[in-house]
């Protein structure tokens, strides 16, 4: 056990040290990593930390990345250009993913097999989306994703009573698994602290969920929108996974997806490191707190908050889509 821990620590340390060394060798200069970097004031650090704690908390509570809070705040409150805000936010998203992901793993809420299975489609989708983004304009995609967000929002509100009833009557366990779910052993269970009971579930609709996750990945590659709400919805609405297990599993997946984009920004020196430190520390703290709270909440309230956030996301995408495609400026 001890040897295993040492090996893990050593592997990570090697990775951490090898990255800057390799980059220094490839790009030949460390200056690349200091785009306009300067010392930040204690007040600014505290403000960034507070914003990041809120983003991390919400992200862990809902299985989202937290970019929904960070990017608008970094641009409007901290006056950062959008590309710098996105780069800092993506580092924060990785931090919430790691912090929330590890907390949910400890609580045995994450379905790691399901996460890895869906991650194949999300990463493939993100890659496809990123390649397509070079060829096609994403204007109308905002409208499509907006429609999907409204659909998810309405479906979550409509399924409040159904989910509570299903948990009470062990309904998540009574489904029949599809072939892929059986072969990959995707079904699982978790302990619901609010109800004080084990909730077992049988995963079905694996192909359906895989395709929706692929679309989530494409959305994130094409438009830079967080795929968190689509991943949670894919598992909860299409694959018979309870909301709490979906949130925990999505959090694990987000760390993996965001790390790929974050690495590209990082290697390009686009991350403003002096801002990234308080943001990453804040989101880590916020996500640990959010993960502690989530399992104690009633599913009903989680669904209401999730539906509200998804509705807000849908409205934002609709606004962007209408502005870019028809020049209509919604409030």
């Amino acid at each position: 056990m001890r040897r295993l821990r040492c090996a893990e620590g050593l592997a990570l340390l090697c990775l951490a040290v090898s990255i800057p060394v390799t980059i220094n060798a490839v790009f030949g200069e460390f200056d690349r990593f200091k785009p306009g970097d300067s010392a930040i004031t204690p007040l600014l650090s505290v403000e960034l930390l507070a914003m990041a704690v809120l983003a991390g908390f919400l992200g862990a509570l809902m299985g989202l990345g937290g970019g929904i809070v960070m990017v608008p705040m970094l641009t409007s409150v901290f006056n950062l250009p959008i590309h710098e805000a996105v780069a800092i936010s993506i580092v924060g998203v990785v931090a919430t993913g790691i912090s929330g992901g590890s907390a949910y793993l400890r609580q045995k809420m994450t379905n790691i097999r399901l996460a890895m299975f869906l991650e194949t489609s999300t990463t493939l989708g993100a890659l496809t989306g990123a390649l397509l983004a070079l060829m096609i304009p994403g204007t109308f995609l905002y409208l499509i994703f907006s429609a999907f967000a409204f659909y998810v929002s309405i479906s979550q509100v409509r399924s409040i009573k159904l989910e509570t009833k299903k948990i009470r009557l062990d309904g998540f366990k009574k489904a029949t698994p599809d072939r892929l779910s059986r072969v990959l052993n995707l079904s699982g269970s978790y302990f619901d602290k609010n109800l004080g009971t084990d909730v077992g579930y049988v995963v079905r609709g694996s192909i359906h969920g895989w395709l929706v996750s692929f679309i989530a990945g494409m959305g994130s590659g094409l438009l830079g929108i967080g795929g968190g709400f689509i991943k949670v919805s894919a598992m909860n609405l299409f694959m018979n996974v309870p909301l709490k297990a979906s949130i925990a599993t999505s959090k694990f997946m987000i760390s993996v997806t965001a790390a790929t984009s974050a690495m590209v920004y990082f290697l390009y020196g686009a991350v403003r490191l002096s801002y990234a430190a308080p943001v990453a520390i804040g989101t880590t703290l916020g996500a640990s707190l959010g993960a502690k709270v989530m399992n104690r909440l009633k599913v009903k309230w989680l669904k209401v908050v999730f539906a509200s956030i998804t509705c807000y996301l849908g409205y934002n995408m609709l606004r962007k889509g209408l502005l870019l495609s028809a020049g209509i400026n919604l409030p």
């Binding site: 295993l4 821990r5 893990e8 620590g9 592997a11 990570l12 340390l13 990775l15 951490a16 990255i19 800057p20 460390f30 990593f33 970097d37 010392a39 930040i40 204690p42 650090s45 580092v91 990785v94 931090a95 993913g97 790691i98 912090s99 992901g101 590890s102 793993l105 045995k108 790691i112 097999r113 890895m116 299975f117 991650e119 194949t120 990463t123 493939l124 993100a126 890659l127 990123a130 390649l131 072969v183 990959l184 052993n185 760390s255 993996v256 790390a259 790929t260 984009s261 974050a262 690495m263 590209v264 990082f266 290697l267 390009y268 002096s274 430190a277 308080p278 990453a280 520390i281 880590t284």
Partner: protein
């Protein structure tokens, strides 16, 4: 070895290591210490943070191989390969 426990441990090691380094870089930035030291610690800390998920996926491959869990091995290896391809394409196709 249980995949969940290994993933949890790798996450924890990555998180503790990067938060400690991030805090060091934040403090040295606030105290306006040697700029070279501050930026090096910042680079290493953010590097450690974003390489943690790569390490988790890599550990899943090792765990599934040692457990002879062929399905999880194929799935984890696919994820890691796509992550690496995305990274390479992101670096080569991104306009400068």
């Amino acid at each position: 070895m249980k995949p969940d426990r290994v993933a949890y441990r790798v996450f924890m090691v990555g998180m503790v290591l990067s938060v400690l380094l991030l805090a060091t870089s934040l403090l040295s930035n606030l105290l306006q210490l040697e700029p070279g030291f501050t930026s090096t610690v910042a680079v290493v800390s953010v590097g450690a943070l974003i390489s943690t998920p790569y390490a988790v996926v890599a550990s899943m491959i090792i765990v599934s191989a040692s457990n002879r869990d062929r399905n999880l091995l194929v799935v984890s290896a696919t994820v890691l390969v796509v992550m690496i391809i995305s990274l390479i394409l992101g670096l080569t196709l991104r306009p400068s």
